[in-house]
Symmetry: C2
Subunit: 685 residues, 2 copies
C-alpha cells in the first residue's frame, strides 16, 4: 500500500445521509487507500492497521468475468459463488456431464478442470494519477478533444505501467471523474475448477427465492489458480472460521461492487426512472421469455440456456426493485430538496458559483441520452461479437495506442485475446436465436424501412437472415479467428465470411453511436467532477466514490430485521432448509439434492446456513468474502434482500441486507455431504 497517495475525502454520498439514516449508518463502499477510520474507531473501536488492510486487499480476488472471491489457502484455492463460477461450470459441461446441475469434485489436483477463459485479478497497488490525467485536458479543448486527450493519457499511463511492472494496469475513474487512480493487478489465467455443489442447493428456491430472505443456498464453489502448471503459491489468504460471526458482530466485506449511481443528480435519476430502466426492463423481459421458450424445447436446450436465463432473471428482478425505488415519489422529492439546497448555496458562494452550471449540463445530457436510446449498433450472440471484435481490432491496431478505443489499447490486449480466442463451446441454436432476436429488435427500433435495416436483412426475415449468417460463418473456429486477427485490415477487407461482412457493414454506425456516447460521458465526467467538488465544499465529511467494479471495503453488523411486523432472524440453519423444502412440496426449485437427503442424519441440523448483515454491497460483490476483525472468513456474499435493490441509488440499513453463505455450512457440507474433508482441511492452510 506504500505507493498509495492519500485521497482527500470528498462527499458524494449525500443522498443517503438525508434518507432516514441514523447518522452512524454503515454506508459506504470504501477505497482501501481511504478507509473510514474515524467511523470505525468511534462506532466499533476498531482501527484497521495498514498491515490488516494490505493483507485483506491481497487476499481478495476479482473474477474479471464479473464477480468477487478470495484466496483461502496457500495452495491457490479460490472461494467464490456458485453463480460466479457458473459461467465456467457451463462452459466445461457437455450434454453428457452437466457439472452445473450435478456438481463436481476433483479427487486430486490432476482431476481439476481448466476453465477455458477465466481471468482472476489480485489488486497489488493503487496510485493517484488525477493530476496527470486532468493535466492532459486543457480548458480550451472541445468536448471531443477533451475526451480524446483523456483517453490518450490514460492509455499512455497504463502502457507505461504494464511495460514497467508487467502487471495488468487500469486507470480507474472515481467520483464521477474527480479522481483517477492507477490500479495494478497480478493476473491469474490458469484457473481450474476444484469443487462445486449441485445447482439445486447452490440456487435452492431458484428465481422465486432470488433476492428473498430467509434463504438456504450453498452458493459457493472452489477454483484453484495455477502458475507454470502447478498450484500457485499464495502468501495472503484468509483463514476460514468454523463458527462464523455472532449476532451483532461487525463484519467486513472486501469485494468489487459493480455499479452504483448515488452521485446522480435528480435529472439523471428521472431519466433512469422514466426512460432508461423501463427500456432495460423491456429488453430483459424479452430475453427472459426467449430463453424460457428455448429451454422448453428439451433438456439439452434447457442446459444451454440456463446461464443466460439466470443472468437475465437476476437482472430483471434487480431492475424491478430499482424502478420501484425510483418511482417512489418520496425518494425523489427528498433528493430534489437536498439538491436545491446545495445549488442555492453554490449559486450564492463566489468561490463555488463556477460550478453552478454543472447540474444543467447533466440535465442536458439526459435528454440526449433519451434520444440515443435504442440507437445501438450491435447484435447479440457470440458469433457476431467475435466478428465485431475482429473488425474493430483490425482498424484500431493501425492507430497509435493513445488514439485507440479503450477496449483495444495495448495494455488490455492480453485480456481481450483471452476472450477472443476462448475455446468455450458455442451453442449454435441458442446463439442463432439470440442473434435473430436482435436483428428483429433492430427492425423494431429503427423501423423496417430504414436503409441500414434493409442492408442488414438483405431481403430476408430476421430469422432467415440469422440462419444464413450463423450457418455460414467460420468464427466458431478459434484458428479462423487467430488467422483473421493476425491478417489485420487486409484480411478483414478480403474476408467473404458473412458475419465479418455484416460487422464491417455495421462498423460506421457502431462508431457513430459510440462517439455520441463518449461525448456524453465526457460531458458528464466534467460536470460530476464539479458537482463532487462543490458538494464536498458545502458539506465535507469522510466519503467514498460510486462503485466501479474495483476493490472496496464495506462493513456492518450481522443483524436481522423486521418485515411486515415479523422479526427475521439473522441466520438460517440446515434444519430450516429441509423445512423450506417441505413447505414447498419438495417441488423444483425447492427440491434438495439427493445427497442432502441421503446424508441428512449425519448433518448437524443447527449449522447456520445463510446470514444477513448491513454491509453496503451491490452486484459485483457476489463471491466477496465476509470477514471478521481478525480477517477470518465467516461467510461469502451471494445476494441482497429485495429491500436492498434500491441501493444502486441510495443505502439504507433499516431493512436492506446483504445475504451470505455461512462459513459453517461450507465446512459441514464439504465434510459430510461431498466427501471432501480433505478440501475442507486445506482451507486456510
Amino acid at each position: 500500500m506504500k505507493t498509495i497517495s492519500r485521497l482527500q475525502p470528498i462527499l458524494v454520498a449525500w443522498i443517503a445521509v438525508t434518507l432516514s439514516q441514523a447518522a452512524s449508518a454503515d454506508e459506504g463502499m470504501w477505497l482501501f487507500n481511504d478507509l473510514p477510520k474515524e467511523h470505525l474507531k468511534t462506532k466499533y473501536g476498531f482501527e484497521p492497521s495498514d498491515e490488516w488492510a494490505q493483507h485483506v486487499m491481497l487476499s481478495s480476488v476479482r473474477f474479471n468475468s464479473g464477480g468477487s472471491a478470495s484466496f483461502v489457502s496457500s495452495t491457490g484455492l479460490v472461494l467464490t459463488n456458485h453463480h460466479v463460477g457458473a459461467d465456467t461450470l457451463h462452459k466445461v459441461s457437455t450434454p453428457e456431464h452437466n457439472y452445473y446441475r450435478d456438481g463436481f469434485l476433483a479427487k486430486t489436483t490432476a482431476d481439476e478442470i481448466e476453465a477455458p477463459d477465466l481471468e482472476l485479478n489480485q489488486l497489488v497497488s493503487v496510485d493517484d494519477v488525477t493530476e496527470r490525467v486532468n493535466g492532459a485536458v486543457k480548458s480550451e479543448m472541445s468536448t471531443e478533444e477533451a475526451f480524446a486527450a483523456r483517453r490518450a493519457v490514460m492509455s499512455e499511463i497504463e502502457k507505461e505501467s504494464l511495460d514497467k511492472t508487467g502487471l495488468r494496469s487500469d486507470v480507474v475513474t472515481l467520483y464521477g471523474g474527480a479522481r483517477y487512480h492507477l490500479y495494478r493487478y497480478k493476473k491469474y489465467t490458469d484457473v481450474r475448477l476444484v469443487w462445486a455443489p449441485e445447482s439445486g442447493i447452490a440456487f435452492f428456491g431458484g428465481d422465486a427465492d432470488n433476492f428473498e430472505y430467509p434463504r438456504y443456498c450453498l452458493d459457493v464453489c472452489l477454483f484453484r489458480v495455477y502458475e507454470d502448471d502447478k498450484p500457485a503459491k499464495i502468501e495472503h489468504f484468509l483463514k476460514v472460521s468454523e463458527k462464523g460471526a455472532a449476532d451483532g458482530e461487525v463484519v467486513f466485506v472486501p469485494g468489487n461492487p459493480g455499479r452504483t449511481q448515488r452521485i446522480f443528480t435528480s435529472a439523471a435519476l428521472k431519466y433512469q426512472r422514466d426512460r432508461y430502466v423501463p427500456y432495460v426492463l423491456d429488453f430483459l423481459r424479452r430475453r427472459e421469455i426467449l430463453y424460457q421458450q428455448f429451454g422448453l424445447e428439451g433438456e439439452e436446450q434447457e442446459r444451454q440456456a440456463r446461464d443466460d436465463l439466470f443472468g437475465t432473471q437476476n437482472a430483471r428482478k434487480a431492475y424491478t426493485g430499482m424502478i420501484q425505488g425510483l418511482q417512489n415519489p418520496v425518494f425523489l422529492a427528498r433528493k430534489q430538496e437536498e439538491e436545491a439546497a446545495i445549488r442555492a448555496k453554490v449559486e450564492n458562494d463566489p468561490d463555488l458559483k463556477k460550478y453552478a452550471d454543472a447540474w444543467k449540463t447533466i440535465e442536458g445530457t439526459q435528454a440526449r441520452r433519451a434520444d440515443a436510446l435504442g440507437q445501438t449498433a450491435g447484435f447479440a450472440g457470440r458469433h457476431y461479437s467475435i466478428a465485431e471484435t475482429l473488425v474493430f481490432m483490425a482498424a484500431e491496431d493501425q492507430k497509435p495506442n493513445a488514439k485507440r478505443l479503450r477496449q483495444y489499447r495495448e495494455s488490455a490486449r492480453a485480456s481481450l485475446e483471452q476472450q477472443l480466442f476462448s475455446p468455450a463451446p458455442i451453442h449454435a441454436d441458442l446463439e442463432r436465436l439470440k442473434f435473430a432476436d436482435s436483428l428483429a429488435l433492430l427492425v423494431e427500433r429503427r423501423g423496417g424501412d430504414h436503409p441500414l435495416v434493409q442492408k442488414v436483412l438483405d431481403g430476408n426475415s430476421p430469422q432467415a437472415r440469422a440462419a444464413e449468417l450463423v450457418g455460414g460463418t467460420g468464427v466458431t473456429d478459434v484458428e479462423f479467428r487467430r488467422k483473421l486477427a493476425k491478417g489485420g485490415q487486409a484480411a478483414i477487407d478480403a474476408s467473404t465470411d458473412p458475419m465479418i461482412r455484416l460487422a464491417k457493414l455495421m462498423e460506421p454506425e457502431a462508431r457513430r453511436a459510440r462517439k455520441i456516447n463518449d461525448e456524453l460521458d465526457e460531458l458528464e465526467r466534467q460536470a460530476y467532477s464539479q458537482i463532487t467538488t462543490a458538494v464536498y465544499a458545502v458539506k465535507g465529511t469522510e466519503t467514498y466514490p460510486d462503485a466501479t467494479f474495483t476493490l472496496r471495503l464495506a462493513f456492518g453488523p450481522v443483524r436481522g430485521y423486521v418485515e411486515g411486523g415479523q422479526a427475521i432472524p439473522p441466520w438460517t440453519t440446515i434444519a430450516g432448509a429441509f423445512e423450506h423444502e417441505k413447505n414447498h412440496g419438495a417441488k423444483e426449485p425447492w427440491e434438495l439434492p439427493a445427497k442432502w437427503h441421503a446424508r441428512k442424519d449425519q448433518l448437524d441440523s443447527g449449522t447456520p446456513f445463510n446470514f444477513v448483515c448491513t454491509a453496503d454491497i451491490i452486484g459485483g460483490n457476489s463471491g466477496s468474502p465476509v470477514i471478521n476483525r481478525k480477517a477470518e472468513l465467516v461467510g461469502v456474499i451471494f445476494d441482497g434482500n429485495i429491500q436492498s435493490l434500491t441501493s444502486r441509488y441510495f443505502y439504507s440499513d433499516k431493512v436492506a441486507r446483504a445475504v451470505s453463505v455461512h462459513s459453517s455450512v461450507v465446512l459441514e457440507s464439504l465434510r459430510k455431504i461431498y466427501d471432501a474433508g480433505g478440501l475442507a482441511d486445506e482451507l486456510g492452510k
Copy 2:
C-alpha cells in the same frame, strides 16, 4: 335467413390472392349471407342450400367472453374448447376444488354448476342497414360530427330492434366501413358446466406445444344452456360423427373469427410492424413475467394466475408469429407492389380518382396512432374496471341513448350489467399486483413528473398506492356495485370510495384518449370504405370482409403438410399422445392425467386425436365446430399451427393449418376415461 339482403360482392382480400396462392386456395371467412357458392361448386361440387346454411348458423354458438361453440344436443348441450370454458372453470373453482386442473363431471343435471357471468349468443338473423347508417352521415360533417352521427344511428337501430324483437341487436361494421349489418342474437345467460377434462390433457404440452403441431390435446368441454331453470330445448344442433373426416375431405368451420387486418394498406402494416406489435409484445411480456412471478409464490397463487398467464402466453406467441411475418421484407414488398398498381389505376380512372386520397388518409392516421400509443388512461385489474364502469355509466346514462358511448347504449345494457354485477371471485392479491403494475406503467409512459401521475399516486409508490386503493375499496361487494349503479351520478359524486374517486379523477383523461381514438377510427372507416370500393372496381370477384367476431364460414380439406422436409400427417392418435409423453420424460407439461394411464389398455390406441385442415381461421374461432357436408360435427377447432400466425394479415394454405380436436377422441374419452357414456350418447340427440 329470409331477412338477409344480398350483399354485393366486394374484393378486399387482394393481398392473399397475390401471395403465392393457388388461385383456388380456400381463403376466406365468409358471411353466411354471402357464401362463395361459385367456388364451392367448382372446387368441391358442393352447393350449400339455404336450409343447410340456416341450420348451421342456428347450430352455431358464440361465447360472448371470446370464443365459439355449437349446440350438440336437443337438450341444450354446448360443445366448446376447454380453453374457452377456462374462464368459467376458474371462476367456479375454489382453493379446495380446482375444476380447471382436475376436470369436472356432473353426474346429473342437478350437479351442473352455474357459470357466474357467461353470455352465449345464437345468431338468428342478419339485415343490411348500410344505407340507413351512411345516410345519417352527411358529406359536410366534420370527422367528429360524422362519428357522432354514425354512432347515434347505430344505437338507434339497435334500440328499435331490441324493443321490437327482444333480441340482442348489434350493428356490425364490415369491410372496414363499407357495409353495416344488423345482427340479432338469441341470448342464453343461464349456462351451466357439464363436463371438462383435466387441464393436463386439454392443454397437453402447455405453452411449449401451443401453436405447434403434431398435437394431442383434448381441448373441449361441455356446457348446457337453461331457460326457466330447465335445460333449453334446442331445435338446431349438430350430430357428432363417430368416425370424423377422411384425409382430403373438405370440412366447414362456422365460427366467430375475432380480428383480421387483411384490408390494411402498406402504411398501416408498417405501423403494425414498427410500432404497434412491438408495443403490444412489450406489454405482453411484462404481464407474462408478472403472472409467472405471482404463480411462483405458491400453489394457490399459481391457480389464481393460471387463466391470465395462459391468455398472455397465448397472445405473446401469436403476436410473435405476426411480427415475424411483418418483418419479412418479401411480404411487405409484394403488398407495396400490388398497392402501387391499384393506386396507379385509381389515379388514372376518372370514376375512381375521387378515392385516390384514401391511402394518404390511412398513412396520416398511422402517424397519429403512433403518437397516441401508450397514452391510454385506464388501469388493469377488476377493481378498477368495475369502478370505471360505474363512473362512466352514471355520466352516460344522463345522455340520450343515441349520444352515449357504444358500451353504454341501451341495447347493450343487459350484457353490461351481467358483467358488472358478476359474483365471480376477485383474487385480491393478484388484482392488486396487476393494478400496481399498471400504475407503474403509467409512470413509465407519462413520466413521474406528469401532474396526472402525481395526482394518481398521491405521494405513494405504485405498490403502496395499489395496496391502499385495493384494500380500501368496496367494489368487491356486488351489492355495493348495485347500489352505486342505482344511485347514478349523485351517488358517484358523493362516494368516498377511493377506487371510485380514482376512476372519477381519470374520467376526463379517459374521455380525451377515447375521443382521439374515435376520430382516428372514423377517418379510417371512411378511407377503408373508399379503398374497398376502389379495389373492388379494379379487380372484382367473390370476397369476404375482415373478421369482426361475428359468424363466418371457413372451409378447406383435411390435409397434412411438409415442414423441414418432413411430411406431417393430417392427424395424430391416442397412441401418439402416450409416445409424446414418453419423449418428453413424462414431465409437466407433458404428463398425461392419471386416468389416462389407468384406462390406457381399454382405449382404442388408433383413435384419431387432433387433425389439421386448411380452413381460414383465427383467434375467436376457438371452439368452432368442424363439420362435414352433412353438417355432422367431425371436430372442434382449438388452435392454428405456428405457420398460421401471420393470417391476421394474409392467408396461405401451403403450410398454415387450423388444428382441431377429432370427434372420435371426444367420444372415446367420454366413454372410456370419464365414465360419461351417457353424455356421449346424449350428443347429437
